[in-house]
Symmetry: C2
Subunit: 406 residues, 2 copies
């Protein structure tokens, strides 16, 4: 969901493993494959079908002979397939500009890291509706020859997982060793266990839940409202003209408030003024450091993300409810699953709260499914799943090793 680079502003700067480090997967290049076409379109939860669908994905580490060492990592709202290492061709792409930068979970994926690429083959694909290589609203609609915009169908977490299943099958993987993700990525991991019981041995779900709270729906609603009411939005047909940056920036600023916690904000900004002398500047512009931070996050985001994709992906986040596999009953839904679970929440996460994760853990337990649930004390809020590397690493490493032996 958040950008780990952004989340680190205000902390002591983190040393990234350079592309030549033995702990880095090195330079990476995305792969691309067409997984739906006219003959075999992708059916969607909304009732429509879509074709063609191209999927961008990245692979780190080697698949073993039995192809049973594959971990599928699922990304969150603003993420992409570039999980680890350094994107070799980032600046060559014709799509939205991205700086060469380490993958969004580089701290967790690589040789000797939590998801150890010496042992496991790690795959991540970009979700349907995104703007990072997989077909989305900024792709060309074959029926009109123009970019989809809002003619793109509504997509869901279920649709994403259905498409990921095609990718996994295409790669000749019968059963995944693990699925893993944080936030909206965690909901995809959960959906994998529900939609394809037994197709993944393990599931690692971080900072996530069976469904978003009403408060979370409310934040998404205001963000989308800001985008749609931006005069540049033009019903989603803004491509080639000025983009709805004001609206998208507002949505992102709002998002960042929910990714941090009240405590981490206090620690980071402490009501400090930018002028450094601890007195108001008496104006309506950027006066507090926290204002400057949000402004920066908003501006940085519009350079790298498509507003329509934000609408579609946040809507998928809204609509997700694992209980729908049990006619609204989460316990009943969880009776389907056939995986071992590692669930991790973070004490100060108020977007996907520990209480919500506990609800999921209990639903699985009541069905006698194997679950490890850990609530990590952390002040980082929702961003903790990107930042609490030292606490997550042993948990994830041991959980994966347990899956190898049993």
């Amino acid at each position: 969901m958040s950008d780990p680079l952004n989340a680190l502003v205000g902390r002591k700067p983190k040393q990234y493993d350079g592309p030549d480090s033995p702990r880095s997967v090195g330079w990476t290049e995305p792969c691309r494959v067409r997984l739906a076409d006219e003959i075999n379109p992708l059916p969607l939860d909304c009732g429509e079908t879509i074709a063609p669908v191209d999927v961008e994905y990245e692979v780190y580490g080697e698949m073993n002979e039995n192809r049973d060492n594959v971990i599928l990592i699922l990304h969150a709202l603003s993420g992409d397939a570039h999980v680890a290492g350094w994107d070799a061709k980032a600046e060559e792409y014709g799509r939205l500009w991205r700086k060469t930068r380490p993958g969004w979970w580089d701290s967790m994926v690589g040789p000797g890291k939590a998801f150890d690429t010496r042992k496991y083959c790690v795959i991540c694909s970009n979700v349907l509706g995104s703007c990072y290589g997989t077909t989305g609203p900024s792709s060309t609609d074959p029926t009109t020859g123009r970019q989809y915009g809002l003619r793109f169908p509504i997509v869901t977490v279920g649709d994403w997982v259905r498409l990921q299943e095609r990718l996994v099958t295409y790669l000749g993987i019968e059963r995944l060793f693990a699925v893993a993700g944080g936030s909206l990525g965690g909901q995809q991991a959960l959906e994998w266990t529900l939609a394809y019981p037994g197709r993944t041995k393990l599931a690692i779900i971080l900072a996530s839940s069976a469904r978003l709270s009403d408060q979370g729906l409310a934040f998404n609603a205001v963000g989308r409202h800001a985008i749609i009411s931006d005069p540049n939005f033009k019903g989603g047909d803004y491509y080639g003209g000025p983009t709805p940056d004001r609206g998208l920036a507002i949505a992102r600023m709002l998002g960042h408030i929910t990714y941090l916690s009240e405590v981490s904000m206090r620690q980071k900004f402490g009501r400090r003024y930018r002028n450094g002398n601890n007195t108001p500047g008496f104006h309506l512009g950027i006066d507090f450091e926290v204002e400057s931070y949000l402004q920066h996050q908003g501006q940085a985001f519009v350079e790298r993300f498509d507003a329509n994709s934000y609408l579609y992906i946040s809507r998928a986040m809204d609509y997700y409810d694992a209980a729908s596999w049990g006619e609204g009953d989460l316990d009943k839904a969880c009776s389907r699953v056939d995986s071992k679970f590692l669930l991790v929440s973070f004490s100060s996460d108020w977007l996907y709260t520990p209480e919500q994760m506990k609800e999921l853990a209990l639903a699985l337990c009541r069905n006698r499914k194997p679950v490890t649930y850990v609530n990590i004390p952390s002040s980082y809020g929702h961003d903790a799943f990107l930042l609490e590397v030292e606490r997550l690493e042993p948990l994830i490493r041991c959980f994966l090793e347990g899956g190898l032996v049993r």
Copy 2:
């Protein structure tokens, strides 16, 4: 801050006391007085002065002979002087349209209510910078003959209280019996005790704190950003043309998220869809009930509030820090006060948290000031100060009665 009528959406409808009820103060008419002019302008914390300043206020109940039974009520962000009863001339005013409606704290102010107008004379004035009768950005700037817009000086809670002190003096009141307010109104009550020690016998501070959190600053910043980046804003000179409704609606929607709690949202909306059949509508418009609620709140607000006033008043909320009376040390600041305090927080209030109120209570206690601090268990979040009437009424009544005898 919130509108009590709005806050009640989703609860069982409340019966308001009609203007003829014995528990109502009846039909009310605001008073208006000029409290600063060229000869005696109002000095402001920003270093400027302002004149003329007209103040709108309302009075309920009778002042006694000694004029020592006066309670000054302070309103929050979007409030006005109309605390109780029914505004007789609401629809005649040339300013922003207001429906005839009960005052924003009618449940608390009236004959036999918590602030009992049979015993006390209750006064409330509209703050400087507002759009409800007191001079603000939509008033005419005498130096240009045009509406101030952003040429209006930055105002602070300190300035508001300085102006209120002029009103109190003008009304011949030497010492207030009590000051009382919730949210930003509570900060004004606190400021009264700090700026004019001994000028009020009692202080009632609800759902408030010595300063806003960084998270609170962040929400205000995004709201203002939405207003200022609205193309209709035109640097604040939008009067007479289209108004920045989109931005103001976003600010208000955001505000409402902070006024409710996660629990109250869940109780109120429960992820229900508007279509009533508990399945997604698969579109980007208003699909969940919580979305519909926020949309309504945003739309209703732009009909009754001025965007520039929102900017100025939310900025005053940002800048307030009671500790500035003690060079940043709240304990030191609290050594000044000479009043008895009733502090009330609400367990689920995450805009002004119980922890923050406790911090203020402790600072007062360490100075051996008389303090009663109550944290009321409530699921209503910040709005609780408007809604928890049954719990507040005995607390406030007894506290006021204690002030009468001692």
